[in-house]
């Protein structure tokens, strides 16, 4: 990392030098929004250019990735871009995996999970990627999306419920049979004595 000589004492260096580090995360987020590789890469490209030319708006010391995610999602959701891009890859980004029916033991099948995820609305995919996959807090996600914390919470909750619905899981049903029985055993509810 090079320290910008123009700013002299800048302890953090030029954040633009760190953009490369965030490319894989930006692509992963973009793919989850667009579900289309070409559209995702165009979105990342636009994000990089916007970040580069607006770098003075970034507050040093704050989370650069969160800032980049915000630019990316705003770019995606603005100008009807999302509607234009709302076509998943014909072959499917994860085509190879989609047709593999796992020999499962009741465990949530990943290929089915992926298909269900891809069928969520863009808003639901977004909130689940930020909160569920990246582990951002509701506050951080609210800041990135530009909505109230409470809205993030309810949106995330609805997104999870919708995912369960698409997966054919009844509300509260546990997709992992062994853990489920273990859990019910612990509490005494799994026994035959229940009426």
């Amino acid at each position: 990392m090079t320290v910008s000589s123009a700013t002299g004492s800048a302890p953090l260096g030029d954040p633009r030098d760190e953009l490369t580090l965030h490319l894989p995360a930006l692509r992963a987020f973009a793919i989850s929004l667009t579900r289309n590789m070409a559209a995702a890469d165009d979105l990342v490209q636009d994000t990089i250019v916007k970040a580069w030319t607006n770098i003075e708006k970034f507050e040093p010391g704050t989370n650069l990735r969160a800032w980049l995610f915000r630019i990316l999602r705003n770019t995606y959701f603005s100008n009807g871009r999302k509607h234009k891009r709302e076509v998943p890859d014909p072959e499917g980004i994860h085509a190879g995996r989609l047709f593999v029916k796992p020999d499962h033991d009741g465990r949530l099948a990943f290929s089915e999970f992926r298909t269900a995820f891809d069928n969520l609305s863009a808003e639901h995919r977004e909130v689940l990627m930020l909160v569920g996959a990246n582990g951002y807090s509701y506050e951080e996600a609210a800041n990135m999306i530009g909505i109230a914390v409470g809205t993030v919470k309810s949106r995330a909750s609805r997104a999870r419920a919708r995912l369960c619905e698409l997966l054919g899981l009844a509300e509260g049903e546990n997709p992992v049979s062994d853990t489920s029985s273990e859990l019910l055993g612990v509490t005494g509810l799994g026994g035959a004595e229940a009426a």
Binding site: S32, L108, V186
Partner: protein, 66 residues
């Protein structure tokens, strides 16, 4: 009388049913999150196309000319 583990003795049925519900919901949620992370991580591991390195290089050159 149901065979109930000691720690639940004395709790109303509805209370520990709610506790079970909560546990099951928390477990489902954890599993959904693990799968979401996997969806994200799989694309995270893909090689970043060269076009992005080239783009950053172009931006840097443009900046240097200013």
């Amino acid at each position: 009388m149901r065979s109930v583990p000691c720690k639940f003795v004395g709790l109303e049925t509805s209370v520990w049913e709610a506790m079970v519900q909560n546990k099951v919901a928390a477990n489902l949620r954890a599993q959904i999150d693990a799968n979401l992370k996997r969806v994200y991580d799989e694309t995270l591991d893909e090689k970043v196309p060269d076009r992005f390195k080239e783009l950053l290089e172009q931006l840097r050159l443009k900046e240097a000319k200013k």
